[in-house]
Symmetry: C2
Subunit: 218 residues, 2 copies
């Protein structure tokens, strides 16, 4: 019986549905890739993962290995390649697995999906799934890799400060204010005036508020 | 009985262990934050998430909402603040939840952990867990937010090309070669010569290989 990581194929398909939200060729071929990477890495040591695409594959890694975004063991390198590497935390040596166009070429449905030769809605999920399961690791290329030293460093936030602008905790080494207040807020700037009121400790007047909002929008 | 998302506290603790790998105050307070955000967003529409830290919180979001890294519904904005936002995909309006230093101040163990006032090994996980569970949403601040238009755009890779350097598929709009070959490889450059051999279609000699390797290391 086919297994993917520690799971039977059906268990893995249910995990995809629960975690990723929908049936996905990327999650299926991704599962086969992660499974193959674990087997080839074949280590008893702790390992990290690098994922080279943000499409689907990170979820296969998170479901099948100990590496997640939130525990810091999964590193995103958004290169747009359908590839991942698992590598020993101490030595940095590991195995890279990639979807190889020279190999997917022999499986028409996989090739059409991989190189997006037809719009998604004109692709047959059923035929594609079938070919992915038949082809399995025949779709994949493998390389021994060694990651750059930056990927071996342990994540450490260092000292924590309270941002004088928003009043929230942030890593002191980011600078005198947090990155959200400095330049990188993902939000339309309405919140700063709400917080400023709080920080300065007095209830600001409507005119002060309007001028603050105008400043923030400028 | 306390619930976190769709789960009982114990079920959630087991999910943490399975997915995140170890008991974690960040995952516990993160679960309470995500649960509170879902309740306050209170929408029947589809929503996305922004996570402002890479520590723990992304995993709570991935376990408790439909948003994951691999399905593109979870966006990382690495600002170093322990905060998240859930927002409607269409309107961009949503709720931001953050851990508020003014509030954690009243819970000594939480405060010590949040502002890292003592090294981790001198903190008591048991007392900290206890205070997090007692305090619950009293630790949190809430803000209505609207995300910037960039966060409303649907992720689309566009046309796919095969990289002339590594031979792998990548989004054509990244440029004439893939980002991995252009500048952003996370690996010590040994693999390019292996692939070059394949791409050029001839078996390269040892001297050619050495010169390639030197180039890549230069």
């Amino acid at each position: 019986m086919m297994t993917i990581g520690k799971y039977s194929l059906n268990e893995y398909l249910r995990l995809i549905e629960w975690f990723h939200g929908s049936p996905s060729p990327g999650m299926l071929v991704g599962g086969i890739m992660v499974d193959a990477a674990i087997k080839r890495l074949n280590t008893t040591r702790l390992y990290d993962a690098i994922c080279e695409t943000s499409s689907c594959l990170p979820d296969a890694i998170q479901l099948l290995t100990p590496c997640t975004i939130g525990n810091g063991w999964l590193h995103m390198a958004d290169l747009g390649r359908f590839a991942l590497a698992l590598y020993e935390k101490d030595s940095g040596r590991g195995i890279r697995v990639f979807l190889d166009p020279e190999k997917t070429e022999e499986w028409p449905e996989v090739n059409i999906w991989h190189l997006k030769l037809r719009p998604k809605k004109e692709q047959s999920l059923e035929k594609l799934t079938d070919q992915i399961l038949k082809a399995g690791i025949k779709l994949l290329g493998f390389q021994n890799v060694e990651v750059l030293p930056a990927f071996l460093a342990r994540r450490a936030k260092g000292e924590i400060a309270v941002c004088p602008a928003c009043g929230e905790a942030y890593p002191k080494n980011h600078g005198p204010v947090c990155r959200g207040c400095a330049h990188a807020s993902p939000y339309v700037q309405k919140k700063i005036d709400m917080r400023s009121r709080k920080i300065t400790g007095h209830r600001i007047s409507r005119s002060e508020k309007t001028s603050l909002m105008n400043e923030n929008q400028g």
